[in-house]
Amino acid sequence: MTSTHWPLVEVAARLLERHEREAVLGDLLETGEGAWRGLLDVLGLVVRRQLSLWKNWRPWLAALGLALPGSLLLMGTSVCLSLTYQRLLGPRFLDLIPLTQQDELLPWLSQLLLLIGCSWASGFAVGSVSRRTLWVSIVSSCLPCLFCLARFRVESLSRFCLLLFLAPAIWGVSQGVRVIRIKLGPSIILAVSVTVLMLPTWASPRIYNLALIWPAWYLVVTALGDGRKVERSCNGMR
């Protein structure tokens, strides 16, 4: 294998797991395979590995059940939040808000917390459900964002208001990828909080509300399942 093409093969091999990368690159070096053939071999293995992941339900849930609908709904919530904020404050600062408008401040704050909670929970679920297909989930989330950004027509708002949910969602994804499962206590607090915060807006279509909060309850279910496994293993040790 020529030294000029070898870095290309190494870059492609980064898409493989560490042990497999070691074995495959070692095999290619040992057999002295041609650069392009080696590259095709590595890419072929990468494609096979990625395709095999989709035999499981997890990547489908992460990409089509969480990332795609989640980003659409959270964009809607982001715009609602921005419109309320605009109506509350207008061009003035917080300390100049009239007393009557301060009554609306609490619902707005609860909406803000709801957006943060739901975005974080959705991100965490996406990150933890299927780490190895995370890039597909990211694409599934980006496509509706790009579509909505291109078609955004509210003149009084910046189109970037659509993306308010991104920061907590990215934070959730990074936590989900590292932690995998949240503990039962925090997961229940999160799910109950977002459900309670959702109650004032329950008049709007319920399926919308359920779609927003179900990732938080999914985390509770996974935490419960995890707790039972620990309990079973402890009983087995007794």
């Binding site: 042990h19 497999e20 070691e22 074995a23 495959v24 690159l25 070692g26 095999d27 290619l28 070096l29 040992e30 057999t31 071999d41 590595v42 072929g44 293995l45 494609v47 096979r48 590995r49 095999s52």
Partner: protein, 109 residues
């Protein structure tokens, strides 16, 4: 029942014994069959067979002739040996009477 490629892989690994690892098995299959064996097919089949309990794999220590990279060593389990034997028996049985089958004296039956 094993697939054709699975049988080839198990047989090559069994023949190589303690020296069975990715590149060696691949070379053995290519030399024996005269067909190219892709790394993708090799490693995904090794994984599948290991999941079925027909192979056991582990990473060896890194060696300088491979640029300091470790080998994925392969050993056929007793279950793998039995599966290969079953496949061979089935192929032998089904081939009896076929026009292309040559008897032990070298004559077509």
């Amino acid at each position: 029942m094993l697939g054709e490629f699975e049988y080839l892989l198990i047989t090559a690994a069994a023949g190589l014994g303690d020296k069975a690892y990715g590149a060696a098995i691949r070379e053995e299959i290519e030399v024996t069959t005269g067909r190219r064996c892709s790394i993708g097919a090799l490693y995904t089949t090794i994984d599948r067979l290991e999941t079925k309990g027909l192979l056991k794999t582990w990473m060896s220590d890194a060696t300088p002739q491979r640029g300091g990279r470790a080998k994925r060593m392969v050993r056929v389990t007793p279950k793998g040996v039995q599966a290969a034997k079953d496949f061979y028996d089935a192929v032998t049985r089904v081939s009896r009477g076929a026009s292309w089958v040559v008897n032990r004296t070298g004559r077509a039956l």
